[in-house]
């Protein structure tokens, strides 16, 4: 499983899917976030691996998910 963290919320998704699929699965508009892994920005075609921790940064400050 891979973990996605957005503010104080955590979501778990299956490894092997792309970041774009993961965002869609947890109902996050891809345009509204930037994803980082180990402090580096990653793109929507990144394939998530087991144990990955992805931090999602809201693009619109104060916006809802």
């Amino acid at each position: 499983m891979a973990k996605l963290i957005l503010r104080n919320k955590e979501f778990e998704v299956h490894a092997g899917m792309t970041l774009l699929s993961a965002l869609k699965k947890i109902n996050i508009v891809p345009e509204s976030v930037i994803a980082t892994k180990n402090g580096e920005m990653i793109l929507e075609d990144e394939i998530l691996k087991d144990g990955d921790v992805i931090k999602l940064i809201m693009v619109i400050s104060g916006g809802s998910i």
Binding site: V29, P30, E31, S32, I34, T36, E40, M41, I42, L43, E44, D45, I57, M58, V59, I60, S61, G62, G63, S64
Partner: protein
């Protein structure tokens, strides 16, 4: 996805431009584009003194960073609004702004609304009964007034703000929904200066908010992540979310919406520009800044009312 310039792994993908770049090339591309927009819209030159309105957020700090990297004479101005909201919002945003200025050895002017006018923004809003229970209208009024005052008093040629394309598209969307023709005619990358009013420019107006977030992350800029507590549930955030949903399925929709508007406005296809020219402004008898009201400007009336109310208490 690969960087178009070097073929390394890309860090930023801009679907509206069909362009993916690695971190290094992205950090080159953003200032290059900013320079292009500054020249395209005749915003300012290297000889002019620029005052950057800095809030501690990603856009304004990124703008200051970019202008300094490009070699412009850019000083900062921070306005302390006195907003706490349970997260020390103003204190934290001031701390981050000062940190940025100190780390880059830049000049920062600080105005504290409470020290200057006796009350913080939320109290001024309550006393004046403006803004339907939210201080945003009073906050906007005070910021516009103070930015212009400092620019004028300290001899700056131009006032630069960090408005990005999402900000501009959201305003445009809101004004279009109700056909606010006067506001539509005024919106643009440059608001020309006139007697008592500093020229205002928005060098980031063609970058998506997402791109400015990416720039701040890539540059390691420490910015205030939380939005103002009073912005929660605001109309502008709602419009931005709607536009982002559209952008997801139609890459470039926001950019086209804004750029086509600028083209139509410039060509005169939208409205007759003389309506704006006809707007009558005269100097406020108290502060000297231009106002369309017959007596004191809205800001001076607000401060007078607040002072009278405080005296009664």
């Amino acid at each position: 996805m690969k960087c178009r310039k070097c073929g390394e792994k890309a860090s930023v993908n801009m679907r509206q431009h069909k362009l993916a770049l690695c971190k290094e090339h992205y950090l080159e591309w953003v200032p290059e584009q900013t320079e292009r927009f500054i020249k395209k819209y005749d915003m300012f030159t290297k000889e002019e003194k620029i005052l950057v309105a800095v809030s501690g957020g990603k856009d304004s700090l990124a703008l200051w960073d970019i202008l300094v990297r490009l070699g412009y004479q850019a000083d900062g101005m921070y306005i302390g609004l006195g907003i706490d909201g349970g997260i020390n919002y103003s204190d934290e945003s001031r701390r981050l702004t000062e940190k940025f200025a100190n780390e880059h050895n830049l000049k920062l002017h600080i105005v504290d609304v409470e020290k200057e006018y006796g009350q913080p923004i939320p109290v001024l809003a309550t006393i004046s009964h403006r803004g339907k229970g939210k201080p945003c209208a009073v906050c906007g009024l005070a910021k516009r007034h103070e930015m212009n005052r400092i620019a004028r008093d300290l001899g700056y040629d131009v006032l630069a703000t960090g408005h990005n394309l999402d900000d501009e598209a959201a305003v445009l969307f809101g004004n279009t929904l109700v056909w606010e023709s006067e506001y539509l005619l005024r919106q643009g990358p440059v608001l020309p200066g006139r007697d008592g009013l500093a020229r205002k420019v928005k060098p980031l107006c063609r970058f998506y908010e997402r791109e400015m977030t990416a720039y701040s992350i890539a540059r390691g800029i420490d910015y205030i992540y939380d939005e103002c507590p009073y912005a929660e549930g605001s109309q502008s955030i709602y419009y931005k979310e709607l536009l982002n949903q559209m952008e997801t399925t139609r890459p470039g929709a926001k950019l086209t919406f804004y750029l086509r508007f600028l083209e139509a406005r410039k060509s005169g296809d939208l409205f007759i520009e003389k309506n704006v020219e006809a707007a009558h402004l005269h100097p406020c008898p108290k502060c000297g800044q231009p106002t369309s009201t017959d007596d004191f400007c809205s800001f001076c009336r607000l401060i007078e009312k607040a002072a009278a109310q405080t005296a009664v208490q």
